[in-house]
């Protein structure tokens, strides 16, 4: 009896410890609610997963430039963007793998911009992609693939080990969103309405080496294989931007890969005029990413391509989907027509 009592009392203490630890883990992890909202994109998907014909995967060029709401409005395409800031290709692979556990779209569109990055840029960017991801084999995989030398796996399991210094920097957001989340995207599209016209761009200098790394090819190969296994068509795209420069040599390599794997590749940096983009109005950061005006043009153009070349159906006649998107479009238009 005494032993049972001791065991139960120790268990109670450990339970309190685990609860306290969970509380501090939650409190100290950035909420990504009103600042750095890019960090909440991954989690937003879980509430909206399933039933999309098109899934976009990639870095900021997907969540800034492709608006699923416009694609639905113009072509009746149901799409979702699973993009995050500086999403590296190995992260894209695991995000795709996770997505395919929730749904089987007809097409996965992968933005190939990340092919030029074969090593992590900043640990903070990993966190934006990984922090809010649900625990799964894919999360374990993405952590192991992404960690820099200074990081530890444990710091992802126990965010307190990473964010403990925030204890003295907590804001009202941390308390307000302690037990709830706030999402800011429209099917993964992050709306930006500001205009910052393109100015003088840096000189386009030739590079010493244009060859993509083996590691990037490995993951691109894995993505192609994963899509093939799941009966999903993989489409490669390079979103339109003026800078950083997307060299012809880059495009040629993607073209070769696409041909070898019988995939479609759209280099939209070559279609800027056809799309009708005007970088004096359609960008919020001087030519790197599109604003709402630019994303509306691009999404319409790309939705048409998807409908024509990839046989993506128009879902506007489906009553349930129409009702769902009517509400989504209402909120989207409210935001689009509201203040900056």
């Amino acid at each position: 009896m005494k032993k049972i009592k001791t065991f139960l009392s120790v268990l109670a203490v450990l339970l309190v410890f685990v609860l306290l630890l969970s509380f501090f883990n939650r409190l100290l992890t950035p909420k990504y609610a009103t600042e750095l909202v890019e960090g909440s994109m991954i989690a937003q998907y879980y509430g909206e997963a399933g039933n999309h014909d098109v899934i976009f995967i990639g870095d900021c060029e997907v969540y800034s430039n492709f608006s699923p709401m416009e694609m639905y409005r113009q072509q009746g395409i149901t799409a979702y963007v699973r993009g995050t800031s500086q999403q590296l290709i190995w992260q894209s692979y695991y995000v795709l793998k996770e997505t395919l556990k929730y749904e089987t779209p007809k097409v996965v569109v992968f933005n190939v911009n990340s092919m030029r990055y074969d090593e992590p840029v900043k640990e903070e960017f990993h966190r934006l992609t990984i922090d809010k991801m649900k625990w799964s084999a894919e999360k374990v995989g993405i952590i192991n693939a992404s960690m820099t030398e200074e990081e530890t796996f444990l710091s992802y399991v126990l965010p307190i080990l990473r964010y403990h210094s925030r204890l003295t920097e907590l804001t009202s957001e941390d308390w307000e969103y302690l037990f709830k989340d706030k999402y800011s995207t429209y099917n993964g599209y992050l709306m930006k309405k500001e205009v910052l016209p393109v100015g003088k761009l840096p000189v386009k200098r030739p590079l010493a080496d244009y060859q993509f790394s083996d590691i990037c090819y490995d993951y691109l190969e894995k993505m192609a294989q994963l899509c093939a296994e799941n009966g999903v068509e993989l489409v490669l795209v390079k979103a339109p931007s003026l800078y950083p420069y997307w060299y012809d040599e880059y495009s040629a390599q993607i073209e070769d890969f696409a041909q070898a794997h019988q995939l479609r590749y759209y280099d939209l940096t070559q279609q800027i005029d056809t799309i009708g983009l005007d970088f004096s109005q359609d960008t919020y950061d001087a030519g790197l990413h599109l604003n709402l005006s630019g994303a509306t043009k691009l999404s319409g153009y790309f939705a048409e391509l998807l409908a024509e070349n990839h046989d993506i159906p128009d879902r506007r006649q489906d009553a349930a989907i129409a009702a769902e998107y009517e509400e989504k479009l209402r909120l989207y238009d409210e935001a689009a027509n509201g203040g900056t």
Binding site: T6, S9, V10, A12, V13, L14, V16, F17, L20, L21, F24, E123, E150, E151, S155, L158, I160, L161, R162, H164, S165, L167, T168
Partner: protein, 420 residues
């Protein structure tokens, strides 16, 4: 628990190998040399000198590296295990105990993971029986766990924060002198103590969890009334090693007062060299203060303690600044540059936020309280119900996780005393 001992032995080798195979090669070679020469010593007594000379030579070459520029094998913890090997060979030579015939048992003494990198410097006649009778118990597990976590708290909450301030001050000796230098010296006393004794608490705590008590290395040294007392309470195992294998063989206090002073100074010069060739002057000053420090004692204990602490702090300057000349200049600036007003207005720019200063202050108070009542606190802890002990351990773990300074952008992994 023979299997567990095998596991501990292999873990030591594996961790050591992680720092490089050449280093592991040296560790194995030094261990084998010491083992074989000790076996031969009863019949061939000069063999003792082979191992002692080899270990001492390696240590001297390593310590003179900054002067000679000689490329040497980077062997972690060499300063500690070399002294252990020397003590073993000398003790066998002095017939204090017979040589160990079991190579595995002897190798376990050298490679025992908890003490491999920062000590304590154990003697074989104390280590071997303790290892033989090692027994893991619930009480030892809790006591050791709490102690290890308290050590981690000292390291990550106190020493790491102090390191930020001291790093900022020592990086700019031209502008951060006078009051800044004094503050750096005083705070470094706490940094070094928190860092080294924190590391020791971790070593001793983990070892205790394994059922293996190791020698204490600290006994509240900053409560000492003199330098003599300080060196009996700071890095105790090094001090006792130097007394037994340097000071006493030199003649100790048996050959008159002048010779006693000379032997003391030589012993502290050896201690300085053990820390590194750049610390010879520090060793010399310590030797002098040990010889004559008691003459400065008064009838007021607190005054003596403060005086000893201040002098000790001034001497730590040799550890703060990169060379002896800068250190001396900084000590001089304390008495010649009166920029105390400027210090208080710029304290916030020394790398810590107001919150950090508050956490640091609270943690230092906790450290002071613990040092003052540590025996009573340990007894209190040991008598508590296992649930209360669990709660204390959980609270310490949470304290470290929340208030420690560690992680991305902050390297708190290295202990100061692992570099000596």
């Amino acid at each position: 628990m023979p299997m567990m001992n095998v596991f501990i032995f292999l873990a030591g080798l594996a961790v050591y190998a992680g720092y490089g195979l050449p280093g592991l090669g040296y560790l194995v070679a030094a261990t084998l040399l010491s083992y074989v020469t000790a076996l031969l010593t009863p019949r061939l007594r000069p063999m003792m000198w082979v191992s002692v000379a080899a270990n001492a030579l390696m240590l001297v070459l390593l310590k003179l590296q900054p002067v000679t520029g000689m490329e040497l094998i980077s062997a972690m913890g060499v300063s500690y295990f070399s002294l252990q090997l020397i003590s073993y060979n000398v003790d066998v030579w002095k017939e204090k105990y017979p040589p160990e015939r079991n190579l595995y048992r002897f190798a376990l003494y050298v490679t025992y993971l908890p003490h491999l990198f920062i000590g304590p410097i154990e003697r074989y006649d104390r280590f071997a029986p303790a290892m033989q009778n090692r027994r893991m118990t619930v009480d030892a597990f809790f006591h050791g766990g709490a102690r290890a976590l308290w050590g981690l708290t000292k390291k990550l909450v106190i020493a790491s924060r102090l390191g930020v301030i001291i790093g900022a001050i020592s990086a700019k000796p031209d502008s951060f002198n006078g009051a800044y230098a004094l503050v750096a010296m005083l705070l470094y006393s706490f940094q070094l103590y928190s860092d080294f004794s924190g590391g020791m608490d971790m070593v001793l705590g983990i070892s205790q969890m394994l059922g293996m008590p190791l020698s204490e290395n600290f006994d509240t040294p900053y409560f000492s009334r003199s330098f003599q007392e300080f060196w009996r309470r700071w890095h105790i195992t090094l001090g006792s090693w130097l007394r037994e294998y340097v000071y006493i063989p030199l003649g100790g206090n048996r050959k008159g007062t002048l010779r006693k002073y000379l032997n003391t100074v030589i012993t502290f010069l050896v201690s300085g060299l053990w820390h590194g060739v750049q610390y010879l002057l520090w060793g010399l000053f310590n030797g002098i203060f040990v010889c004559f420090g008691t003459r400065l004692q008064t009838k007021w204990k607190t005054l003596d303690r403060i005086g000893t602490f201040l002098l000790i702090s001034l001497l730590w300057s040799f550890f703060i600044w990169p060379d002896a000349l800068t250190a001396l200049k900084m000590v001089g600036s304390v008495f010649t540059t009166f920029n105390y007003g400027a210090f208080f207005t710029t304290a916030g720019t020394l790398g810590l936020t107001v919150a950090d200063w508050i956490i640091l202050g609270a943690a230092l108070l906790l450290l002071w309280g613990y040092d003052l009542w540590h025996k009573a606190l340990r007894q209190w802890f040991d008598r508590r119900h296992v649930a209360v002990r669990t709660a204390v351990i959980c609270a310490l773990a949470l304290l470290v996780m929340l208030f420690g300074m560690y992680g991305i952008g902050f390297n708190a992994q290295a202990f100061i005393y692992s570099q000596f």
